[in-house]
């Protein structure tokens, strides 16, 4: 199935959980924040999210800035 991940159409396994996706991308959970279909998720909510077709996911982190 396809989701929109950071603005890009991205293919992921059917029924993948958010936690699995994060792990597969090799991300450190404490360094990222996730917006799921325009709502901000708290870290403890990630576990319960199973992705569906056409979900919109934004995964962000801090970068250098002034």
């Amino acid at each position: 199935m396809f989701i929109t991940l950071n603005g890009k159409q991205t293919e992921v396994n059917d029924g993948i959980s958010l936690t699995q996706l994060i792990r597969s991308k090799g991300l450190e959970p404490e360094s990222i924040v996730i917006e799921y279909n325009r709502s901000i998720l708290q870290r403890e909510e990630w576990e319960s999210v199973v992705l569906k077709e056409n979900d919109k996911l934004e995964v962000l982190r801090f970068v250098g800035g002034g």
């Binding site: 991940l5 950071n6 603005g7 991308k25 991300l27 450190e28 404490e30 360094s31 990222i32 924040v33 917006e35 901000i40 998720l41 708290q42 870290r43 934004e58 995964v59 962000l60 982190r61 801090f62 970068v63 250098g64 800035g65 002034g66």
Partner: protein
């Protein structure tokens, strides 16, 4: 001399705030932070690029710093609020630098949208430090909206032109009773010193340090300039006069 800077519920130990953009390599940032003595450090929030190995910025910023994410990329109040809430969900405190910019050439802030964003975020418990064009009425609006400080620009971001808005900043310092922090345009330590001599509560410097030949040494130079300017302001500077006034006695000359 007791000279505390309080912003929100935090006592700030250094009046030099630094940004973390444009450094030639992130690994030099810990050294720069240490040499600058800065406690408040800004960062930006961006999408992760899954096709590149971008790094976790947080590992370069000492844990005892106050992180001040900015809302760069926001073109209106709603976008700034969205970015601020996301930044807070990362769990690094309540400080937020509001930056709302829709002008791509000079990157001048939109004061009206900034006031709107400040009102919303202050109500949500953020410690709001808005980047603004130095206008007295807008600074009052920001204060009334709950800003913890105002951050007028000295010159457009990244230009290193110095305190081009000096007279307007002076008016804010005289009239606004929350900290006035000069942000943007400060190009060299003497500019930072000048802002502090005027009575600014602090300065925020990024480009001038990040693009210096030796950023860590430049950070130290800025730290000293900020301390010098602050001490000069607190000590009460002597008056400027039109005509000469001898410093040596005008009597008892050799005949």
């Amino acid at each position: 001399m007791d000279d505390k800077l309080i912003i929100g519920d935090r006592e700030i130990t250094s009046r030099l705030f630094i940004g973390t953009g444009k450094f030639p390599a992130n690994r030099i940032i810990p050294d720069v932070v240490r040499m600058s003595g800065a406690q408040v450090v800004t960062v930006a929030l961006r999408r992760i690029d899954f096709d590149s190995d971008d790094e976790n910025m947080l590992k370069y910023i000492p844990k005892d710093c106050i992180l001040m994410p900015n809302t760069s990329g926001a073109r209106n109040a709603e976008e700034a609020v969205r970015i601020a809430r996301l930044a807070r969900a990362l769990g690094c405190g309540n400080f937020i630098k509001i930056e709302v910019i829709s002008d791509n050439r000079y990157l001048l802030p939109d004061n009206m949208e900034t006031v709107r964003a400040t009102e919303i975020l202050a109500r949500e418990g953020f410690t709001v430090l808005p980047y603004m064009s130095p206008d007295l009425m807008d600074a009052r609006r920001l204060k009334d909206a709950g800003a913890a400080a105002v951050m007028p620009l000295g010159a457009p971001i990244g230009t290193n032109k110095g305190l081009k808005t000096r007279e307007m900043i002076k008016i804010l310092i005289d009239e606004i009773d929350i900290p006035v922090i000069v942000d943007a345009g400060i190009g060299k330590p003497s500019d930072a010193c000048e802002a502090m001599e005027l009575g600014a509560a602090a300065v925020l410097v990024n480009t001038a340090i990040a693009t210096a030949g030796d950023p860590a040494v430049m950070a130290e130079a800025f730290a000293k300039a900020v301390i010098a300017g602050r001490k000069a302001f607190l000590s009460g500077m002597g008056p400027v006069k039109e005509y000469a006034e001898a410093s040596s006695p005008l009597t008892g000359f050799l005949a």
